[in-house]
C-alpha cells in the first residue's frame, strides 16, 4: 500500500479539479465569455443599435435592389430570400471587427494583468473573445432570418439550412474577431484597430456575393470573391438557406480553416504581447 500523499497547500485543496488538459481551458473560457456577455447585456443601447442596423440593411437593401432578380442569372424567387443570409454574414462581420477594442480596454485597465496573475489558461483570454463574437453572430443571424421569414422569405434548406447560416456567421465572426484582437495586441492603438479593420472589411463585403449573384459579377471580381472568406461564408449560408447544397460543405470547411488560422494568429499575438511585459 502506498503511503498517503503529503498534505497539499490550501490553494490546492480549494481547487476541485485538476487544471490540466482541455477541461480547464473550456471552463475558463466559459467563465470569461460570461463576463463579456454581461458587458454586452449591460449596454442594451448598443445591442439595440446592432439589431436595428441589421434589420435596416435587410429592409433597405431589400427595397433598393428588389427588382435586381429580374435580371437573368439570379436563381431566386425573392430578393429578400437571396439577401437574408448575406445580411446575416454582414452582421457577423460588423459585430466582430471591433472586438479588439474591448481587449485593448481590458489591457489598459489592468484587467488582463489581473487575469494573467491567476492560474487561468492563457488561451482562454483569447478564446473568450472569439467565443463571444461567434455566439453574438449566431444570435444576430437567428434574428435576421426570423425577420426575413416573417417578411416572406422561405428557407428551402429547412432547419439544417438555417444551422448552416448560423455556423457560417459564427465562423466568419470568429475569424474577424480573432484578427481584430491580434491587431489590438500587436499595435495597442485604438485608431489603428478601427482604421485597419474598416479598411479591410468594406472591400471584402463588396467583393463578395452578399448583394449580387456571382453569375453577374465581372470576371475579376468573381476571381477575387473565390478567395474571399466573406464570400465563402455567403456561398455556404446562401446555399444552406436556399437548400442548394452544392459547395456548402467545402466552403464551411474553408471557413473553419481560416477561423482556426486567425485564432492561432491571435494567440501568437497574445504570447508576443505577454513577452513585452
Amino acid at each position: 500500500m502506498r503511503p498517503p500523499r503529503q498534505s497539499q497547500s490550501a490553494p490546492d485543496m480549494l481547487d476541485p479539479r485538476t487544471r490540466t488538459g482541455t477541461m480547464g481551458f473550456i471552463t475558463d473560457t466559459v467563465y470569461l465569455t460570461g463576463r463579456l456577455y454581461r458587458q454586452t447585456l449591460r449596454l442594451p443601447v448598443f445591442l439595440m443599435i446592432s439589431v436595428v442596423q441589421s434589420v435596416l440593411w435587410l429592409l433597405l437593401f431589400g427595397q433598393l435592389f428588389r427588382r435586381v432578380i429580374e435580371v437573368p442569372g439570379f436563381e431566386t424567387t425573392s430578393y429578400l430570400q437571396f439577401l437574408a443570409p448575406g445580411i446575416a454574414v454582414m452582421a457577423a462581420l460588423f459585430g466582430s471587427i471591433h472586438s479588439g477594442l474591448g481587449m485593448l480596454s481590458d489591457i489598459e485597465r489592468g484587467v488582463i494583468d489581473r487575469f494573467l496573475a491567476t492560474p487561468a489558461r492563457r488561451g482562454a483570454l483569447i478564446g473568450a473573445r472569439v467565443a463571444h463574437v461567434a455566439t453574438m453572430a449566431t444570435v444576430q443571424a437567428t434574428l435576421i432570418l426570423a425577420i426575413a421569414t416573417a417578411l416572406g422569405a422561405r428557407p428551402g434548406g429547412g432547419g439544417a439550412g438555417i444551422l448552416v447560416v448560423l455556423l457560417a456567421a459564427a465562423l466568419l465572426g470568429s475569424a474577424f474577431g480573432a484578427v481584430s484582437n491580434a491587431v489590438s495586441l500587436l499595435t495597442r492603438r485604438q485608431e489603428i484597430i478601427i482604421a485597419s479593420m474598416d479598411f479591410i472589411v468594406l472591400p471584402m463585403i463588396f467583393l463578395s456575393g452578399i448583394m449580387m449573384t456571382p453569375a453577374l459579377m465581372p470576371t475579376w471580381i468573381q476571381r477575387v470573391a473565390a478567395v474571399n472568406p466573406v464570400n465563402w461564408a455567403v456561398v455556404a449560408a446562401r446555399g444552406g438557406f436556399e437548400g442548394n447544397w452544392v459547395g456548402v460543405g467545402t466552403h464551411l470547411a474553408l471557413l473553419a480553416g481560416i477561423a482556426l488560422a486567425c485564432a492561432w494568429w491571435a494567440t501568437r499575438a497574445f504570447d508576443r504581447y505577454r513577452a513585452t511585459l
Binding site: P11, L14, D28, Q39, G110, V111, A117
Partner: protein, 334 residues
C-alpha cells in the same frame, strides 16, 4: 517552526531590460520572510513595479533568479500563481460588473466553485465593508471602494503571499487610513506575507517591518524603519543659502565644524546632521556668518525615512519624485 523565520521570497540579482534599452531593474536582491510586511520604497520609475510584476509572474526577468513560496517563477509560474495574490498599481475592477460578480469570476479563475466560493465572496464583502454595495455596478464605487474590492479579489483564494503595488496611491487620507488598517490586520491575524511598493515614506514607515529603498533599479538601503533611521546620527539641519554657489561655500564652512556631519548640497539647500540640532544651530549660523553667508530659511528636524533617502541617493524624496522617469544614471547630481 515557531520562531524560525522562513524565507518565502528570495530575489537574487534580478535584472530587467526593456527594448530601448531601458534598464528598469539593475541587479536587485532581497529576501522576505514568512509573515512580514516588506516594503519597496522609491520614487516613480525606480523599478518597484517591474520587480513586483516579475515576482507575480507577469513579466519575465532578463536575468537573475526569483523564488516565491519555494518555487522558481521561471519554471513553475502556474504553481506560483495559485499561492500569490496580486493587486496592481491602478484599480483593475471590471467596471461593468458588480462587486460580487468581480469576486465570483476571480474565484472561478482560481478553480473555486459553488457554495464554498459564494461563502468566501460574502465573507470578503463583509470584511471590506462592501456588502451593501455588492450588487451595484462597480463603476458607481468610490476610489476607496474600488481599492478595497481590488484587495478582496487579491485575497479570494486565500493566498499566503500578497503583492500590493502602490496600494493607496490616489486615495483620500481617510480611505488610505482604512486600507492601512486592513493591511495591518491581514498581516497580524492571517499571517500573510505582504510585499508592498510605495512612494509614500509614511506608508512604508507605518506598515513595513522591513524596507528596501529602491533607486534607479537598484536597492540602495535596506533594514527596518528604525534601523534605517539609526543609521543617521542626530537631527537634520536644512539651511537655505539662496544659491548653489553659496550653498557649496557653506558646505566647506560646515565641514570644518566639530559635531556636524553628513553634509550635502542640494541646489540652494544645504543639508547637514548634528547630534543635537537645536544646540548645534547657533554655532552653525555663527560660522556661516563669519564666512559672509546668510541662511534664509532654517529648519531642524528629527530623522525620518526622507533623510535616509537623501543620504543614500543624494536627493530629497520630493525632488526625486518630480523628476521625469526613467532617469539615466549620468543625470544624477553628484
Amino acid at each position: 517552526m515557531d520562531g524560525v523565520k522562513m524565507p518565502v521570497i528570495v530575489v537574487e540579482d534580478l535584472r530587467k531590460t526593456y527594448p530601448g534599452p531601458v534598464e528598469a531593474v539593475r541587479g536587485v536582491s532581497f529576501t522576505v520572510e514568512t509573515g512580514e510586511i516588506f516594503g519597496l520604497l522609491g520614487p516613480n520609475g525606480a523599478g518597484k513595479s517591474t520587480t513586483v510584476r516579475i515576482l507575480a509572474t507577469l513579466s519575465v526577468p532578463t536575468a537573475g533568479r526569483v523564488r516565491v513560496a519555494g518555487l522558481d517563477v521561471a519554471t513553475a509560474a502556474g504553481e506560483v500563481r495559485r499561492r500569490i495574490g496580486y493587486v496592481a498599481q491602478n484599480t483593475t475592477v471590471d467596471q461593468h460588473a458588480t462587486g460580487r460578480e468581480n469576486l465570483l469570476l476571480q474565484g472561478r479563475l482560481f478553480g473555486m466553485r459553488g457554495g464554498a466560493l459564494r461563502r468566501r465572496v460574502d465573507e470578503l464583502l463583509a470584511l471590506f465593508e462592501l456588502t451593501d454595495a455588492a450588487d451595484r455596478a462597480a463603476r458607481t464605487y468610490s476610489g476607496g471602494m474600488k481599492r478595497r474590492l481590488d484587495l478582496a479579489m487579491g485575497l479570494i483564494h486565500r493566498p499566503r503571499i500578497l503583492f500590493l503595488d502602490e496600494p493607496t496611491t490616489g486615495l483620500d487620507p481617510e480611505s488610505r487610513a482604512v486600507l492601512w488598517r486592513e493591511v495591518e490586520r491581514l498581516a497580524a491575524e492571517d499571517g500573510l506575507t505582504i510585499l508592498l511598493t510605495t512612494h509614500y515614506l509614511e506608508e512604508a514607515d507605518r506598515l513595513a517591518s522591513r524596507i528596501a529603498i529602491v533607486d534607479e533599479g537598484r536597492i540602495v538601503a535596506e533594514g527596518s524603519p528604525d534601523e534605517l533611521k539609526q543609521r543617521l546620527r542626530g537631527d537634520r539641519l536644512t539651511l537655505d543659502l539662496g544659491s548653489e554657489t553659496e550653498a557649496r561655500r557653506g558646505a566647506v564652512v560646515l565641514d570644518a565644524l566639530d559635531g556636524v556631519f553628513d553634509i550635502l548640497v542640494e541646489g540652494h539647500l544645504l543639508h547637514a546632521h548634528a547630534a543635537e540640532g537645536g544646540r548645534a544651530l547657533p554655532t552653525v549660523l555663527q560660522a556661516l556668518d563669519r564666512a559672509g553667508l546668510t541662511a534664509g530659511q532654517v529648519s531642524v528636524s528629527r530623522p525620518s525615512l526622507d533623510d535616509i533617502y537623501l543620504m543614500v541617493t543624494g536627493r530629497t524624496f520630493a525632488r526625486a519624485a518630480d523628476e521625469p522617469t526613467p532617469r539615466r544614471r549620468e543625470e544624477v547630481p553628484a
